[in-house]
Symmetry: none
Subunit: 249 residues, 2 copies
DNA sequence: TGTAAAATTGCTGTTTTTTGCAATATATTT
DNA sequence: AAATATATTGCAAAAAACAGCAATTTTACA
């Protein structure tokens, strides 16, 4: 059997089943495991598959390059996410909400940080799966088309059964007087359940949203333990939030 | 024998079998291996075949064009998905499994089809959210990094509480004798739960996977109600599956 | 047709590639 | 931390490629 032929076979097997073990390949192709290892190494160098410990996986399986679409005020959200990462310790159990700011947090989690991470958001879950040391648990339920998060009674019920160290949540609107408010009633119900499911709630919120409000109320501001904006904590725009028993980062 | 004639013969052999050994060619053409080597070298220089160590391979065989598409055998999977769509009626309640074939099904759902659709797969869920008339419910649980599907006890428990009209499932391996088998133990547990959660189970499977097997068994073939491959139902490759009380599409 | 130049072919010895094995190191699991 | 599985490295045997050369055949042209 020619080397090319064999490598073709390997590629085919990988594409077909998404993953293969070197030992299985060696047995199937009737060559030594060293040979298979070398073949896989070459195919990996040619970017035709991805070599992993003990085997190989297909490109589609491994490469989940996120198409970084246009996020509004992404730089500010990244600044917020970086501050939020500072709160995390190894073996923390956290919940990450949906929204672009929370998505940045998921994206910026250090690869060596060991976390157990719940989420309701499809995009956040996608990002979390790329972190080798994060165990991701998706809270299921009816998915909302626009926000791509799980909602509804079964989601709320599932949330009622967990208690995480930190939850990182976004909000549509914040105001010192009216607290956290939203456009959607469903979203409010879900966020309430999220806050209930956490020992400490951390609000991630760009400063543009400060001092705005809407129809439905999630909670008062004093329910929140920590608020993170892209501003320096001593910025005067945050003055009104300083005597509310909230940690501001 | 003329040189040209000989080279033509070599080309023919390569096209027919995709690969040839120099030694075989030398023997068949009754010339020395050096001559064959030189011929192949020339044909390679003319881009009529690809010379490799010990032999030659055809152009189509060698040019496994990288990044042509992320999905292996996508055309076949699309053919399968189209057949599967035919089973669906308005207001059906279905469950769509993970894997690239099931993903194609999600992708090809008609925009006007009204469905309630459960899934455990993140990519499938993403696709379903783009269908205006599909209500998507994600079955939560611990997410598997590689396959991007929810697994584990909470997933299996959630599945135990639903019963859909159809479930569309993929499999790693199928065999008339060994039934549906998988590479992973966890995957098997989940697939079992999926099958239990459905009145009828529909297997989506490209013909390449027929007559292959692996470690862990999901179920026997007769548990499946319908099997869909990209082949015509009367294709002889499907003969062995015809007396198993399965509908073949 | 005859003859020399060019091309083709097979042979020789040498170099390179491929492969499997064993010893050691690294990673993963228990 | 121990046990197991996988990787890496160096090495040697076998197979294949290569380069040079001589014998043979084909071609070119007077």
């Amino acid at each position: 059997m020619l080397k090319e032929e064999r490598q073709h076979s390997i590629l085919n097997e990988v594409e077909l089943h998404n993953r293969v073990l070197l030992t299985d390949l060696a047995e199937k192709l009737e060559v030594s495991i060293d040979t298979v290892r070398r073949d896989v190494k070459e195919l990996d160098a040619e970017n035709l598959l991805v070599k992993v410990h003990g085997g190989a996986v297909s490109l589609g399986f491994a490469n989940h390059s996120p198409q970084q679409s246009n996020v509004y005020a992404q730089d500010k959200k990244i600044a917020i996410a970086k501050k939020a990462v500072g709160l995390l310790k190894n073996n923390s159990v956290v919940l990450i909400d949906g929204g672009t700011t929370c998505l940045e947090l998921a994206r910026l989690l250090p690869v060596n940080l060991k976390l157990t991470c719940f989420t309701l958001s499809l995009p956040v879950a996608m990002e979390l799966l790329r972190k080798p040391n994060v165990e991701t648990i998706f809270i299921g339920g009816t998915l909302s088309k626009g926000s791509q998060i799980a909602m509804g009674s079964s989601t709320i019920n599932a949330l009622s059964q967990i208690k995480v160290d930190y939850s990182f949540i976004g909000t549509g609107y914040v105001d010192t007087e009216f607290g956290l408010t939203e456009f959607d009633w469903d979203v409010v119900q879900t966020k309430k359940a999220v806050i209930n499911a956490s020992k400490k709630a951390v609000l991630l919120c760009i400063s543009e949203k400060l001092n705005s409000q809407h129809r439905f109320k999630t909670c008062d501001l004093n329910i929140i333990n920590t608020m993170i904006t892209e501003l320096e904590p001593w910025d005067s725009k945050l003055d009104a939030f300083k005597n509310l028993n909230i940690q501001i980062l």
